[in-house]
Symmetry: C2
Subunit: 535 residues, 2 copies
């Protein structure tokens, strides 16, 4: 057969890069087999034949797998800019994320979503966006934006916009709420992400029939099994707080594993630094007895198939050359990451330069904030108080007696009764909501934060109105962030100037600040391990 | 949670049809589990909960699986109209076919493709069409049409048109022939079907890099393994002649089974009547030791996923209610078939009415055909002869001595030297190609056919020019078909008036005629089991 030069080139004989002497984790054939991988023009063009290439790397028997994908992540939870997030996860083998822009959209609306779309150009991480259907997530709070189906239309042509993010409003979905249905109609063939913790039976059936196709909130085999049987993809999740991989893993077998993906959902910077990213979940699964190829399929081809992403997620001919190289199938220490055929990380170090990121307005429309805004007139002898339950998002509702006769109600550190304020920052309404909380433990000072799910107004807790004002003012001054204040001094703070949610600093610095903030809060008596993730 | 009426209905509580007391082959969860299946508006709306429905069928523990899909079939090979094909395969559990219109397009071009698209409306069989890229399949013959990429454009918006059919011209593909590449560009994200028997190494890599994503021609584990590793879907094929399922099945395991589909490619009416359709392949696989759910996945969700067909191929919530009911997991005797929520076959009988089919021109532009057109002047003392090899498409090339001194060369039945004529029928060119064949065995009479891959001109073989003319005239008179003629009499014939390729008669009748034609040919001395599939 006569083969022309162009065809020889297409066959990889004159490739850009040849990965020689490697063991290929072939997620299509389900094997690990010795191979050569030829790459050209950002694609894999050959496997296992004899190629010539401009550059050849002898991998000395190392393992080669497709770059990993996080099927569902809120990048905002990393507290980092997209560039810094990429710099932290790409060297770990992640080359693609599907991000649900729920948090930033609740602050900045479409501009927030556009931040991720625009910031992703020029970095070696594919960032696919799911449009958040629940902005606002509740009518009870003032959020920074309101997004209807019509608002999303300008984004629908963007190839990075895949589908609809997690549909948290399951009661509304079951009731076929018109606003929700009109958003579902934007993506009649999906993908649409579900979010229905604990839902079962007829209500679950009705929810699925409306459109949502995945669940990352299942916490038991029984729950995941019903959802799997009823058609949902199951995303195994290991967030910083919600960790469900090992609970659900026993459900996975050779006839259904394709329906499982892996996701981190929300990982904070310390967790990214210590545990890593989705690669850490592969290691967990392998350690728990899952075949390494099956585990790797769950962070590669399974998710790419679920999202209909064509010729991605495998090291095979015609596929994007997004590749991770590691030493063995148990520890999977990543030594090299290739994105679109280019080496972008080695030995844990990102090799790509910082690119300018778009600005996002960090909205702090709070005028003349002072102690008078925190005054609460006494309404009687009793006070309704939230009782915090450590490591749970749940709170108890308590009623406590007031023991003094003051005109205004104040924090009472002797009884661990602390004032909590939510300061509206998006619309300049001047609204301040005040409550009381027990279980926080501050005996002096105050803390404040502009990261407060899901509307991300400023939230502060403190032993005195003065320190609360100080902490809130520090957050406003930084255009977002975390602050610990005592005796009028800022003891520690972290700037989050991107929408009040994210830093432009590297993961090491952000994680360090977060640890330091926790230490300072603990020194003030705080009993919570991680007060900034609670408030 | 408050649930409105509409939502309760969506949840299947007021369903159209309830399949109660069944064992569900759940191709998503990979299990067989007891279930109730609620159907409404042609979709599955509930599984396993408590529903009310207008009609309830107690299946008494029978098995319920998704309707089967044939991933690659040339319906023309059934010799039947689409309606009659549907009538023969739907009661066997097939509810979807992906048909590659290569044969009819080589005769009638776009009109041939439109025949399948139009004829599929109103019958309970989803017929998805792959556009044939090789029309004509060779420049050496006169076919009835020539289709370039531009010609396909009017069909691209049709939801039944999925992608590009089998790309048989692999040398041209490897050479990046411009006409082929422009057809591939019509479907940049596929699906595109491959056809590259025996291709391997760099040539295979180059072929795959150009676009083709599947292979149904692999005949060994080694061949299929290389193609699987290099990214191709493997279609296990059991055609009437080419049978490869058992050869390749050992390659299938729990980590790669999703990449395997099943197809019949070409099954003649006797085979459809005796072995059945893709369900027969599931039975073979199960008998060979494959888990029944894995085997059923290969005729359901695997193929639907491969073709990107959304919410089809599983009995699960939101999926099309295309369902097959059978008695057990070994013999799988089908007792009921449901299409879009309606019962369309019971106990092997189709329950749907015949619908009027569109006409397709049956082109027989052959004027004044007579014995003079078969005359071959003697060119020397030797004759080049094709030697047929029974049960293979391959032929040997022989050279035989002429033993007489006649001016014109005639068939010599004493030495089994038979004249073979190909009569151009599409363009009215008057072209007749004549050769000689050994191994056919006719001692008297002649046979003729208008089914002659891939251009489907009229082909005839005979012991005398007179009977060859008689057989050819009979085919022309019928506007297509098969004929056996001897001593000037038509001994048997089958009309194929749809493009000269297909009958409007039921499978039993077409199969009966085919058997009778073979018997008559055998009585005339024919040594081939199946002369009409050879010529």
């Amino acid at each position: 057969m006569a083969v022309g030069d162009e065809a020889r080139q297409a066959a990889g004989e004159q490739a850009d890069l040849l990965l020689a002497n490697c063991n290929l984790v072939n997620v299509l054939s389900g094997e690990v087999h010795p191979a050569e991988v030829a790459i050209q023009g950002g694609k894999v063009v050959g496997i296992g034949d004899e190629y010539e290439a401009r550059d050849t790397i002898d991998l000395g028997g190392k393992y080669v797998a497709p770059g990993f994908i996080d099927a569902h992540v809120h990048i905002e939870s990393s507290l980092m800019s997209l560039f810094q997030f990429a710099r932290s996860v790409v060297p770990l083998g992640t080359t693609t994320v599907v991000t649900d822009c729920h948090e930033i959209a609740n602050v900045n609306g479409l501009d927030g979503i556009r931040y991720f779309l625009d910031a992703s150009r020029g970095i070696p991480l594919d960032v696919f966006v799911m449009l958040p259907p629940c902005v606002p997530s509740t009518e009870l709070e003032t959020s920074g934006a309101r997004l209807e189906a019509e608002d999303f239309k300008p984004l629908l042509g963007d190839p990075l916009v895949l589908g609809l993010g997690e549909l948290m409003n399951y009661p509304g979905t079951i009731a076929r709420d018109a606003r929700i249905m009109s958003k579902l109609k934007l993506f009649p063939r999906g993908p649409v992400e579900g979010h229905a913790p604990g839902l079962s039976g007829l209500d679950l059936s009705s929810y699925i029939a409306a459109g949502p196709e995945s669940e990352h909130e299942a916490t038991s085999v029984a729950e995941a099994s019903e959802k799997l049987r009823k058609g949902m993809y199951i995303y195994l999740r290991e967030a910083t707080r919600a960790r469900n991989l090992l609970d659900i893993l026993p459900l996975v077998d050779g006839r259904n594993s394709r329906r499982f993906c892996m996701c981190t959902d929300d990982r904070d910077p310390r967790d990214l630094l210590e545990r890593g990213h989705v690669g850490s979940m592969v290691r967990m699964a392998v350690k728990a007895g899952v075949h390494p190829v099956t585990a790797i399929q769950m962070v590669t081809i399974n998710s790419f198939s679920r999202f209909g992403l064509f010729r991605k997620g495998a090291v095979s001919i015609g596929y994007d050359a997004d590749i991770v190289v590691f030493d063995n199938l148990e520890e999977m220490n990543v030594s090299m990451v290739i994105k679109d055929g280019k080496i972008v990380a080695r030995e844990g170090k990102a090799l790509f330069p910082e690119v300018p990121e778009p600005d996002v307005e960090s909205k702090f429309h709070v005028a003349h904030f002072g102690p008078s805004r925190l005054k609460v007139a006494r309404g009687g002898d009793r006070l309704r108080v939230m009782g915090l339950v450590e490591d749970q998002i749940l709170t108890n509702s308590l009623v406590m007696e007031l023991t003094d006769r003051n005109e205004y109600v104040q924090s009472d550190v002797g009884r661990d009764l602390l004032k909590l304020a939510v300061v509206e920052r998006h619309e300049g309404t001047g609204n301040v909501g005040i409550g009381f909380v027990k279980g926080f433990g501050l005996s002096s000072g105050a803390i404040a934060s502009s990261v407060a799910h899901d509307s991300h107004n400023i939230i502060a807790v403190g032993s005195s109105d003065e320190d609360m004002v100080g902490a809130i003012e520090q957050v406003i001054r930084m255009r977002g962030g975390f602050a610990v204040v005592a005796g009028g001094n800022v003891l520690e703070s972290l700037e989050l100037p991107i929408a009040g949610l994210m830093s432009r600093k590297p993961v090491e610095e952000v994680a360090g600040k977060l640890k330091s903030l926790n230490t300072k809060a603990k020194e003030l008596g705080c009993r919570l391990e991680d007060p900034f993730s609670v408030i």
